[in-house]
């Protein structure tokens, strides 16, 4: 019974404490490329904003690279600055 209480205590924090790993650290062959809009899309919201690191789970280094890459992709119209209204 004691065990059950333990799990309850843990559960209080969050239903799914997914372990977040930086995708780019996990796969060394993967590179941040501003031309690859499909991959960058994973790190932006539907409206086009860059997802913060605490949500995406990226490490600082790769988050920095992603942020620069998204901005470059926006400049050359591969990604949106924001969702177009209407």
């Amino acid at each position: 019974m004691a065990m059950r209480e333990d799990t309850h205590a843990k559960k209080r924090r969050r239903p799914f404490p997914r372990r977040k790993v930086c995708r780019f650290c996990a796969d060394k062959n993967l590179k941040v490329d501003y031309r690859d809009a499909n991959t960058l899309k994973l790190f932006t919201t539907e409206r086009g904003k860059i997802v913060p690191r605490r949500i995406s789970g990226n490490c600082a280094r790769h988050q920095r690279q992603i942020s620069v890459a998204v901005k470059r992709a926006r400049q050359i119209a591969l990604m949106p600055y924001t969702a177009t209204t209407i």
Partner: protein, 184 residues
């Protein structure tokens, strides 16, 4: 001859341009590169694709990628030419590497180009063989830009570790665009 760098310029041409006109513009820009002593590494016509937002009222654009080795001062000249060519609706130049050894890099690029061509030929041959054997109807994988990019990245070889860190540090500094600056 101080600091030859590797740059990549992406530019978008008006979507209503014919293939011939696009090629003509690319040739003109190649001429500019040649005239000013820059070395062209590659010129890829990505073709027409939808832009993420309308650029000068155009919902689509013809993307062209040009990689070259040049002095830093040349980028301004190249972009000046881009601005003079009316069908170019947007462009962006990015620094890929600093202090490049021209001959070494050109040789590297030729090697990766060759490897890529061979890989494509092989894939085609395999697809043909499969078709002939009648095993499956799988279409051959079309050569994609992604493949090409990978090949390019591999080209940096043993300098990768250092080069990447450099790129991090001055990524924003290497971005040269006269039309718009990111506020961040």
């Amino acid at each position: 001859m101080a600091g030859v760098r590797e740059y990549e310029t992406l530019y978008i041409l008006r979507p209503d341009l014919t293939d011939e006109a696009a090629v003509q513009i690319n040739d003109r820009l190649k001429g500019v590169l040649e005239r000013d002593g820059a070395r062209l590494l590659k010129c890829n016509l990505w073709g027409k694709r939808k832009t993420a937002f309308e650029v000068k009222k155009h919902p689509k654009g013809i993307y062209v990628q040009m990689c070259y080795l040049s002095q830093p001062a040349f980028v301004g000249e190249f972009e000046r030419n881009l601005r003079m060519i009316e069908p170019v609706i947007r462009y962006q130049t990015i620094k890929l590497a600093e202090d490049v050894d021209i001959e070494k890099r050109v040789a590297e690029q030729e090697a990766t180009d060759r490897a890529q061509a061979e890989a494509e030929a092989k894939a085609r041959a395999e697809a043909e063989a499969r078709k002939a054997a009648g095993l499956s109807e799988e279409p051959p994988a079309p050569p994609s830009h992604e493949n090409d990019d990978d090949a390019d990245d591999r080209g940096y070889g043993d300098r990768r570790g250092r080069g990447r860190r450099d790129r991090d540090d001055d990524d924003l500094g290497g971005e040269r665009d006269l039309r718009h600056k990111d506020e961040e």
